[in-house]
Point group: C2
Chain length 749, copies 2
């Protein structure tokens, strides 16, 4: 590929980007698109709906959104979108900083050295092949390799300093988040699984006895996790009918704990009556020990949520091994209520290790099977091969412009499209794995997608690009550095176009929300369906974080090999920063909080990128016979690994556990201010188990922050009123029956 | 090597073994050797010293010791030598069981199949080369490989069943050990390191304030770990002088906590007076906050031992992250007093991670550098090469008997001798690593030596035996199975002789205690030095466990490849069981208790051996083109890994942490029986810090169970009396001075 082909590709992409961004700035002003572009604000009802008047201004592209996104402070973002968004944006800030330094050094220092690496005459830059800009252009035993070595040192040292500061900053933010946030039921609750069953005691009593016996001073109460039995499903049906009638709005006041349910207009009973019924049922069920169904339900119980009086007691109970059999009484700190992944809580604990191994194996297999489409994409890079495969297109391919598009643009588009199948699959694997929280599942999926992306985009492209059928090269770890050093510069062209297409284009598609826009257009304008369900998405960290980290990896690995990639990357990071800020502020709504736990993953990947950069440089210096530079690079490699070890010791436990000091201070504050009593009362109702089968898995978290907003409840009322009345009848009958039974028993006694 | 050469080697070894064992049975009856062969019994003074009369019976070899060693029960061994000895002997029991099964299957099932693998006529077995007994004799695509596959299944399944039962049995023993033993100060104590320094507060107060603040209900007291300052060394000198006079005997009553110190005859003061002086000094030092030396000592304090009121509180404090900076207030459960490795407690906590990495790197480097002597040993195997190297010996080497000795015996002796340098070095590495307990150091050394042995004895011999200069084969993990499958059967001869020489001979040298015997002989009989220091050794788990595990590895890997090794191994395990039982009962004295923590290491290594056996079998089946057998072996491999994972989840945490249930029950028992008060009083004095510089590193543990036994204290008295009087003078002056100062201060106030 020539320099001019690169410019063509860049030109196309810049044009496309400007077009899409202008389109966005117009589309976001159209009232019927508000639900697509202002989902979060609509959900919080802060966004004042404008009247649907038409003005010419609505059709003009403007840059106001960029200004708004830029001037928003970090504290504002934390308040509206949680700590995770802040961490994600810090990743961009780090990238912009480090790649500004890197670009400065590499474009003005390394690039000229590469260009003048061989003693040949350069006349016309646009017709130069791209590899004169790479390190491949430098002759062996050249003194100029010192420039590369110094650049390596500057990049690594500044990256380490910036990384350390970021880790420190984010740790501080996380601690402030833990101590500063309103009381979280998850801090007081421990999830106990694998409770031993005894024949002469109900499980309920077993749990109570155990915790009263060993944690008597701090045990508050517990709530069993019940599999859905007949009894349960019956109550659920009633609730489901009731929910259909009630218009639940998430208002700010509700989020602060006050319930503002409106009356259900058909029956004339208060909306919370069902809750009362439900509680009575549960009480009745508790008393009824002779009922085989109750006993059966208890037998099937996979665990319980145990509430403690203080946060410290919960932390202690979760950290200490409970029983001398480590497979019994397994305790974990419970996720916060909206984060609980209920359907996974029903998995018997004994399966978890097997599930983890199985999903690990499945992910690895998938990672390697995916080589096939990537190899196909790579084969498309070679024009000659393409001409052989499609002889009909020979005429078209002989034209210069088409050839450029095909070699420079199409391969990465195909790769991008095939990559879209990965996140859902990895998310499925992570669900099967048995994570107890939604955030844990997302983190696990993020990690899987990250491994997948780095392997299939970076390694497979680098290695199979030139030695397609020599897959056995993977089995020689010792030759890896020199092999990478040979192959990486050759693939520079592909990755530069990858940044242009996959990187820039993905930002455009992100800001335009193409899928939602089209869906919205069809449902609103074509089918005139006004009662559509305005579902607000949470931020897809599991797809976006690996994407950004891949670009950081590309940036580091190509920094001294092929510095031409850096300006394009820098543009990507700057644009990405603005786009994601805007999206986080306007579109996505955080359904649960990971508390910045993604940062260690990001940190480790960045350090891995640095190490990979050094390993490749090591290979290059070996190939070019520069032993002193090789020695200095090994030194740098060791120092980088030591730096990472230090960071791990210094910070990583902050992201895994709560410290006694913080937790005890929080407990003391609450006790002194008298809030503790209130917290204890709320704890009992915090975790409500709505089985996912009953309401769809997307809303199984019990406390769903954003409910479906029914525009006109009366419309659906006619259909469901019969169901509701039947259910109410059933409920009250069953209730009376159980009361009679209890009374009968009392008589007998 | 021919079968007859093997028989020669076996013959030599059997003769040597019988000779050594007879020699042992004679030597142990000689009274002047009692200190060598009955060290533990002498130390416990249970062994009744016989009069030194001469009888003819004393010169007759007998087998009584074997009977005694065999009939001793496991419970007796646990009581006299601790749980670790039991675990070590269980390893032998496991080995005998599994290799009985394996020998039965392989010698009667696999060996005939191997022998008749090719359609050739066998006439005279002794002249057969050994490789007709190996799997190399089987032709490709043979149906007979099914026998090997079935043997593999039977061996793996029975090994897994036995392993699981052993793990379960040892876990139960460990739990019984924790709950059944007398109160251990280590259970109540937490070692706190990396205490933040503040300018306006003494470290002593910082510690007290922190624990009173956050663990107020359970905090008892604390003891600072002080680096040796001038003040300290001065007190130490006094103590040292005092100790020279006192004859301390370890009697059973003393071990139970009662002090039975005799009077020191020169000064007329009671023996414990120095303890009183010492305590007064420490008190005076505490009050004296203006003394820059005291302030300085506090600044240099690397940590403290914090005592808690209950075991549960100590467990909680050790498990929970204390501060929001994970590098501060680092807590670990303290080792028991005699197990503390004081000189490592003085290492600043911030260095620990760096030290661990550095020793890891050093061990790995040493592991690879050691290849050179091993390669030399291997080159000695080839007679032709030897003839070239030493042309003078050509005449000798041409003789059949010498040739057999050289090829069959010498190489493993050389290897064995060079291996003797490894344990001290690995022990040094483990000391540098910064382990806080002696048992932790030994465990770490054991693991290092294990890796070293498996790598340098097994892998390097297998791989470099035939492809000496092709060390780059290590870099192709994919080809490993087929490569091992080709090379392992070829090295069968070497390893069979290795079992004979290294295995059997090491048992003989173990039971004879050659080094101690010679030392004892010279010191007692030649130099007539009767006041020699009778030092009792603790069992060298770090050298013996890797040795036994290596033989288990050899047994599994050669089981189906070259079954001839199995009978020799079985003899080794049976003999080893008796020899080590005898040595544990008579010679070694347990100075500290690891609580069976070596078992997980043993278990993992055995599972690794099984996996290696399967991987090699996989290679063999691939080479011999038996795809169905390959498939079945992969299935077995996966099942074995799953089995190991299950065991890890089921048992490993028992060996890492104490469970709340057990610990709380223990606390309750002590509280109800009123023993708690007594335990608390003892806690304060349990950990005494005697700097190793003052008394030699071997006795730095404070509570040294076995003191030097001075036969005649009067002899040394004349030398030390002057020193003692001087020191007493100094001590009392300094004491008076400090009292005056304190009084002066009181006046000022």
């Amino acid at each position: 590929m020539e320099f001019s082909a690169l410019l063509t590709s860049a030109g196309i992409n810049i044009a496309v980007c400007i077009l899409f961004l202008s389109l966005y700035s117009v589309l976001r002003k159209q009232p019927h698109n508000f639900s697509v572009y202002f989902g979060r604000r609509l959900a919080e009802e802060k966004f004042q709906k404008q009247d649907d008047y038409f003005s010419f201004e609505r059709l003009l592209p403007t840059a106001g959104w960029i200004v708004k996104a830029y001037w928003c402070t970090e504290e504002e973002i934390r308040q509206v979108a949680g700590l995770d968004s802040v961490v994600f944006l810090r990743l961009f800030i780090f990238s912009i900083r480090i790649f500004s330094i890197t670009s400065l050094i590499c474009v003005f220092g390394v690039l000229p050295v590469n260009y003048h690496g061989k003693e040949i005459t350069h006349d016309h830059i646009p017709t130069e092949p791209l590899n004169v800009f790479t390190i491949a252009n430098i002759i062996e035993e050249s003194q100029k390799l010192w420039v590369h070595c110094i650049a390596l040192y500057i990049i690594t040292i500044s990256a380490c300093i910036l990384l350390f500061n970021e880790y420190k900053y984010i740790s501080r933010k996380r601690l402030a988040h833990i101590t500063g946030s309103s009381p979280n039921p998850g801090h007081f609750t421990v999830l106990v699984r694998s409770i031993p069953k005894s024949d002469n005691e109900l499980l309920d009593d077993t749990i109570r006895n155990f915790f009263v016996n060993y944690h008597g001073s701090s045990y508050l109460s517990h709530q069993m996790i019940l599999r859905k039995g007949h009894f349960q499903s019956f109550v659920d049906r009633a609730e489901r009918a009731y929910r259909k009638f009630v218009r639940v709005r998430l208002s700010v006041s509700e989020r602060n704990g006050k319930s503002s349910m409106s009356r259900c207009g058909v029956c004339g009973v208060r909306a919370s009556s069902f809750q009362i019924y439900r509680n009575k049922f549960i009480e009745a069920k508790k008393a009824d020990l002779t009922n085989p169904e109750v006993v059966d339900a208890q037998k099937n119980c996979p665990g319980a949520l145990v509430f403690f009086k203080t946060r410290y007691a919960a932390v202690v109970a979760s950290r200490v091994l409970q029983s001398s059999n480590p497979m019994l009484w397994v305790t974990d700190l419970a996720p916060e209520p909206r984060d609980v992944y209920w359907s996974n809580l029903w998995i018997p604990y004994k399966q978890i290790w097997l599930r983890k191994l199985a999903t690990l194996a499945a992910s690895v297999v998938f990672m390697f099977v995916f080589i096939i489409p990537v190899a196909f994409v790579q084969s498309m890079m070679q024009l000659e091969q393409l001409k052989k495969m499609f002889p009909n297109l020979r005429g078209l391919l002989n034209k210069s412009f088409f050839a450029r598009v095909v070699t420079g643009y199409l391969p990465s588009v195909v790769l991008l499209l095939s990559l879209y199948t990965v996140p859902p699959l990895m998310m499925l694997f992570s669900s099967i794995e048995g994570s107890i929280s939604r955030s844990g599942r997302k983190r696990s999926a993020c990690l899987k997608i990250l491994f997948f992306t780095v392997w299939n985009v970076f390694f497979v492209n680098v290695l199979s690009g030139s030695v397609l059928n020599q897959l056995n090269v993977f089995t020689r770890p010792k030759d890896m550095p020199t092999m990478l050093a040979e192959l990486v510069p050759k693939q520079a062209t592909f990755f530069i176009t990858y940044v242009l297409t996959s990187g820039w284009a993905s930002l455009c598609s992100e800001i335009l929300q193409v899928y939602n826009l089209v869906y919205n257009f069809f449902s609103k304008c074509i089918f005139c369906c006004h009662q559509n369900t305005e579902y607000v998405y949470s931020f897809p960290y599991h797809t976006e974080v690996p994407k950004v980290l891949l670009f950081i990896l590309l940036g580091f690995t190509f920094a001294i090999m092929a510095p031409l990639i850096l300006p394009f990357l820098l543009v990507y990071f700057c644009l990405g920063y603005l786009v994601y800020r805007n999206q986080i502020l306007n579109v996505y709504y955080p359904k649960y909080e990971m508390g910045g736990k993604l940062w260690p993953i990001m940190h480790n990947t960045i350090v891995f990128s640095l190490v990979l950069m050094q390993v490749i440089a090591l290979g290059v210096f070996t190939i070019k016979h520069s032993p002193v530079a090789t020695g200095f690079t090994i030194l740098l490699l060791v120092a980088t690994i030591l730096f990472n070890e230090y960071c791990r010791h210094r910070f990583s436990r902050i992201f895994e556990a709560y410290s006694a000091q913080d937790v005890i201070e929080l407990d003391r504050d609450d006790e002194q201010s008298g809030r503790m009593q209130e917290i204890h009362q709320h704890l009992q109702d915090a975790y409500s188990q709505t089985p996912p089968g009953a309401e769809g898995s997307s809303r199984s978290g019990g406390q769903v922050p954003i409910e479906l907003i029914l525009e006109d409840p009366a419309q659906e009322a006619s259909e469901s009123s019969q169901e509701l009345c039947d259910t109410v009848q059933e409920v009250s009958e069953a209730h009376e029956h159980s009361i009679e039974e209890a009374a009968g028993k009392a008589h007998c006694v």
